[in-house]
Amino acid sequence: MNTEALKCDCCASDETQKLEQIANVIDLYKNKNGSLIQILHLAQQIYGHLPLKLQEYIANSLGIPLSEVSGVVTFYSFFTTKPRGKHTIRVCLGTACYVRGGKKLVERLEELLNIQIGDTTEDGRFTFEIARCIGACGLAPAIMIDDVVYKQVNVNKLESILSKY
């Protein structure tokens, strides 16, 4: 498959550049067995996410089945097939945060952002995920936005927290 096929018109030059980088990465690792994860890792860093078209491109370049590539992509939670938002919200649902009301935060956030867990808002501002214990049990329930931890959050605080981003 030609890299041309992946281009979209709006950001063609940017896109081409990314794909060239990914092609280089593939060339670098092509002949090493077991380097699929590494390639996917770098491809995601370059492209932001791993859509089906990009997986097809990688499978084709490596000469392995697409189902194998997507098997790895969908296995590891670090890989994502959808574009990610500018900021990542992670609500902790570890035991402590869960019993202190983490679940309510999830429900409220789904309402506020109008998306489900794992999705990204339409404006591309937030990606919403859950985390299993971020090691801040004393501050439960906690959420993280990018690298910042918010402690003892309740549903009423959420709007003001989000407005900072």
Binding site: H49, Q55, N60, S67, E68, G71, F75, T81, K82
Partner: protein
């Protein structure tokens, strides 16, 4: 040799043997599920666990090799309990509608439950709920999948197509194509090998039985059956006969009893294929010898799974395929033209049913190219298994049937046609005729050296020197014809790579999509006989040898159909009815909009690009039988009920919220 003890019994087996195999060879059977000898060794189900002295945990005996001095216990309390728990855990996420499952009483999981003595199902937890994925050939019912991964092994290691793989993780793991795409939307070739190894009812052929019953019951339809060569040496297995038992006569009798108006033999069209394909090969060879452009090697085109594969993987090399339709499509086309005139029945009223050892044939009949005058050449394909199901449903005591014959003029065939069902057969049948046409002498059977090629798996090759040809083919004097034969997609791939890079030394290549050819096709009975392939092969060779006529061009009905109707091989009318063309698809279907998810025909591409699997809910508006319609009505009623309850719940919750607020307000006021 390694010495060990199993259940206190001293035994000695070869190095590298697994505990399971060692036990088996010493008459100790260890219950197992996912393990398949020589095919699948993965240790995914853990049912075969045993106690090994000194080991911390129970060991999967299919994965653990024997060691010197090992002491194994296959039947302790701990082991039996563990197996039961494992079994119960497997079925905790398995749809348990066994009584109405296609695999009822032929299900390995069901049998295992009996073997293990499981009488309770203690674990009722979350259930993965997934919609059926119905393609024109294969249906995936993922509520029954137990993730044993046998299908992954045949799809990746044996066939090398790699359509099925484990997607997602943990409880959400699903065995399927990339990103949960439906099977009909990807480059699956529908070989159906996965449906043979599936131990449960998760992978099966897409049902055509209902459709065929409906046609038989319709007084206005003239229903004609035709049967592929490989069916007659396998159908008996479904009724307890030994693999390879020839049931040609019983099969014809059974079909007549089922209510088919005519029983024809696809073999007749196999003879016809030889005439057409042989002529095509000679034309191409003549061109090559004369220095004119010719696309060689020519590749056989009888195997629809193989055809779909080459359309996906080698779209630029389609010219190498013979333009001949596969035999049953040829026969369908003839039934609706030549035969329709003979019996004076409108082609629209004729319903052609092909009994095939193949799941890909179901896809083949849905191809746009397989139509003449707007009518499909063949209306339905039943697999060998499906025919057996119909025979049982009709209460026919198959083994007691008296032998009957096929109907003429489309029922007589030579021995050359019988061997179409096994790898190398089409090649041999073609050479019998082509050699005789060119030299005027019989092909020297005994000197036909078919030798495996070093370095290529599953590929066999032969050379035939032509000397002293008849006058019409003088230019072939001294020409050596090189042929290659392979079965299974993996072997075919190697030959295609040669063609692609221009290094193929062959003139003629036979490819069958399934390993071993049609005798082990995806629609054949599931067998646990390790020698099943050999036995069916011997059955077909015997069928060939027992016939007086063994060369296609000697079939008198073939000669008369050319005289009366087709004129000569490769004529205009035969091109119209018996030949076809192919579609460039590309590995990711990027060259075509055609998809083969079931909706009564084909579905156009509707593949959203950036969708993750979670929100992908492939819609499959399947054709509905009466039974399904009733079910879907029931479902609708239930859905309405659910909706009503949901509304009530929402109302109640709202009330609760209001009360909460009132209470909160009051308490604030009190403060």
């Amino acid at each position: 040799m390694v010495n060990l003890k199993i259940n206190g019994k001293q035994i000695s087996v070869a190095q590298g043997t697994t505990i399971l195999e060692a036990a088996k060879s010493n008459n100790i059977s260890i219950p197992n599920l996912c393990y398949m000898k020589d095919t699948h060794k993965f240790g995914s189900c853990r049912i075969c666990v045993v106690e090994v002295k000194g080991a911390k945990t129970l060991q999967a005996s299919c994965m653990t090799n024997v060691a010197e001095g090992m002491e194994v216990f296959t039947n302790t309390e701990k082991v039996r309990k563990a197996r039961k728990v494992l079994y119960e855990l497997i079925i905790s996420d398995h749809s348990k509608d066994c009584l109405s499952c296609k695999r009822n009483q032929s299900c390995e999981l069901q049998q295992l439950g009996k073997t293990l003595g499981v009488e309770h199902t203690r674990f009722e937890g979350a259930r993965s709920e997934r919609e059926n994925d119905i393609s024109v050939s294969i249906t995936r019912d993922l509520t029954k999948c137990i993730a044993c991964r046998r299908c992954i092994t045949v799809c990746n290691q044996i066939q090398g197509t790699g359509i099925l793989n484990a997607q997602n993780r943990g409880f959400n793991t699903v065995v399927g194509p990339a990103m949960d795409l439906p099977l009909g939307d990807v480059n699956c070739v529908f070989c159906g090998q996965c449906t043979i190894v599936c131990p449960v009812g998760a992978l099966k052929e897409t049902d055509a039985v209902e459709k065929v019953w409906t046609a038989i019951n319709n007084k206005d339809k003239y229903v004609v059956a035709q049967t592929a060569p490989a069916v007659r040496v396998a159908l008996g297995e479904e009724f307890g006969l030994e693999p390879g038992t020839r049931v040609t006569g019983k099969m014809a009798a059974a079909l007549r009893t089922l209510g088919f108006d005519n029983i024809f033999d696809t073999n007749f069209a196999a003879d016809l294929t030889i005439m057409e394909e042989g002529t095509e090969l000679l034309h191409r060879l003549q061109n090559a010898v004369a220095g004119r452009p010719a696309t060689l090697p020519m590749i056989t085109s009888c195997s629809p799974g193989w055809i779909k594969y080459i359309e996906h993987a080698y779209p630029d090399n389609l010219a190498h395929l013979s333009t001949c339709k596969s035999p049953h499509m040829m026969l369908g086309a003839l039934i609706k033209s030549y035969y329709s005139k003979i019996i004076n029945v409108d082609a629209e009223k004729i319903f052609v049913v092909s009994i095939m050892p193949c799941t890909a044939k179901k896809f083949e009949i849905s191809r746009n190219e397989m139509k003449n005058n707007g009518l499909p050449n063949v209306d339905a394909v039943l697999t060998t298994r499906e025919l057996a199901a119909m025979i049982r449903e009709a209460g026919i005591d198959f083994t007691k049937l008296e032998d009957e014959k096929f109907d003429n003029p489309l029922g007589l065939s030579t021995g050359a046609a019988d061997i179409f069902g096994l790898t190398g057969g089409v090649m041999e049948a073609a050479l019998r005729t082509v050699y005789e046409l060119v030299t005027g002498r019989e092909l020297p059977f005994k000197n036909l050296h078919v030798t495996p090629i070093v370095g290529l798996d599953n590929v066999k090759t032969a050379e035939i020197l032509i000397n002293d040809p008849v006058n019409a083919y003088k230019e072939f004097d001294g020409v050596k014809i090189k042929v290659a034969v392979t079965s299974g997609i993996k072997g075919a791939n190697q030959l295609m790579e040669q063609i692609k890079n221009g290094s193929s030394p062959y003139h003629f290549i036979e490819v069958m999509g399934c390993p071993g050819g049609c005798i082990t096709g995806g629609g054949q009975p599931r067998s646990n006989d390790p020698d099943v392939r050999q036995k069916r092969l011997e059955g077909l060779y015997k069928e060939d040898e027992d016939k007086d006529l063994r060369k296609s061009h000697e079939n008198p009905y073939i000669n008369s159909i050319y005289k009366e109707f087709l004129k000569y091989p490769g004529s205009h009318i035969s091109h119209e009815l018996l030949h076809t063309h192919y579609v460039k698809r590309g590995v990711f279907n990027q060259l075509t909009d055609e998809r083969f998810s079931e909706d009564g025909g084909r579905q156009m591409a509707k593949r959203s690009q950036n969708t993750g699997y979670k929100d992908k809910q492939p819609a499959h508006p399947a054709k509905k039988t009466i039974r399904e319609e009733q079910q879907s009505e029931d479902i609708l009623v239930l859905k309405a009920e659910i909706e009503k309850l949901k509304n009530e719940l929402a109302d109640t919750l709202e009330t609760v919220d209001i009360y909460k607020q009132v209470i909160a307000d009051l308490s604030r006021r009190q403060k």
